[in-house]
């Protein structure tokens, strides 16, 4: 089996995996980082979003070997010790979740959105940018509010 090596949440990791291993499988099953979820497995829902070299990627739709040498950040890697990331804190503050299944992907999408679009995000931009993240519980109202607040808090 081929060997893959990458940096995940600041730690160097290496493992022998089957070539067909998806990045999300590698994260969840090899590294036991189960905060990254699998919803649809077909690039629709965004529950599996992680950052690969600073860009949001759907980890169900890339092979682990495609992240060879890359810097991967998962939801487990965004907080600073016991202090939540400002975007996580905004989701908590605005009650932007119900069951929580989509939340890790939503937060990784939100941070990527701020990285690309800046700290002042209007509702229209946020809703457009959330095209690839599905929530089946709450509707998106509080999620949009949380992202706007989290974006400002990330300044």
């Amino acid at each position: 089996m081929p060997t893959v090596s990458m940096t995940v949440n600041g730690k160097a990791v290496t493992a022998d995996v089957e070539p067909r291993t998806l990045l999300v499988q590698f994260l969840r099953e090899n590294l036991r980082l189960t905060g990254t979820h699998v919803g649809c497995d077909t690039s629709q829902c965004g529950a599996c979003l992680v950052h690969v070299d600073g860009h949001a990627r759907k980890s169900c739709t890339m092979f682990a070997w495609q992240a060879e040498g890359a810097n991967v950040t998962t939801i487990e890697g965004v907080a600073n010790g016991n202090t939540l990331h400002p975007m996580q804190e905004a989701f908590r503050e605005h009650h932007a979740l119900q069951c929580g299944y989509c939340t890790p992907g939503m937060i990784m999408a939100a941070i990527d959105m701020v990285n690309r679009k800046g700290n002042e995000l209007d509702d229209h931009t946020i809703r457009q940018e959330l095209d690839g993240n599905l929530c089946r519980c709450t509707g998106y109202h509080n999620i949009v509010k949380a992202i706007a607040a989290g974006a400002r808090a990330m300044k």
Binding site: L49, A56, R57, K58, D112, M113, E129, D131, G132, N133
Partner: protein, 201 residues
């Protein structure tokens, strides 16, 4: 290959061929557009994908590891292309058309084209390419192209019916509905192309 986001945000394309830059902006979602590429899209040749319409509608040349293939010969049927098993796309070359536009009737759930029409006029070369409708994948509407030779305007194709034969019927739309949509989307595309490219040329 070039990612969807890079095509959509290319300053060169936005200036010289905005019709092409508009195509990937409607593909998938922001994260998909940061990952998917034009080469991947046309090699797959999904019958509802956008880029095959752009390639055929502009008369692109698909450059591979072995040869150059005109778009007219590249798309050979549903999910089929002229690519051989050991051949890979390395580049896609597009001619600049002053008058060109893409209009897509987006499936509300998947974002794929229920029907998408790409039109262009480059001197005497007039093209109308349709995706999403044909049971054999992307195709050109020669009846529209002939009519547009007189005048490149939405009015020129009024009253010309596209036959429903050979079009897809599924739970989203039957062949007659798709045939009608081709005319509607073609007229919208022609209006956008003439607005973008100026009057007669």
């Amino acid at each position: 290959m070039t990612k969807h986001d890079d095509v959509a945000n290319s300053p060169v394309l936005k200036e010289h061929l905005p019709a092409l830059a508009s195509v990937p902006a409607q593909i998938g979602d922001p994260h998909v557009r940061q990952a998917g590429t034009i080469g991947g899209s046309i090699a797959n040749n999904d019958p509802n994908a956008d880029y095959p319409a752009a390639c055929l509608g502009l008369g692109a040349t698909i450059v591979t590891s072995k040869r150059k293939i005109p778009a007219d010969e590249f798309f050979t049927g549903m999910f089929s292309t002229a690519l051989e098993p050991d051949e890979i796309i390395t580049r896609v070359s597009f001619p600049i058309a002053k008058k060109a536009a893409y209009q897509k009737f987006r499936h509300p759930a998947s974002g794929f084209a229920l029907v998408g029409v790409f039109v262009s006029k480059r001197g005497p070369d007039i093209r109308v390419a349709v995706t999403g409708a044909g049971s054999n994948g992307v195709f050109r509407v020669t009846a529209f192209e002939e009519a547009l030779k007189k005048r490149f305007s939405p009015k020129s194709i009024e009253g010309i019916a596209v036959p429903a034969d050979g079009l897809n019927s599924d739970i989203h739309a039957n062949a007659e509905y798709r045939a009608h949509l081709i005319g509607v989307m073609a007229k919208r595309a022609l209006a956008a192309a003439t607005a973008r490219g100026g009057g007669e040329d």
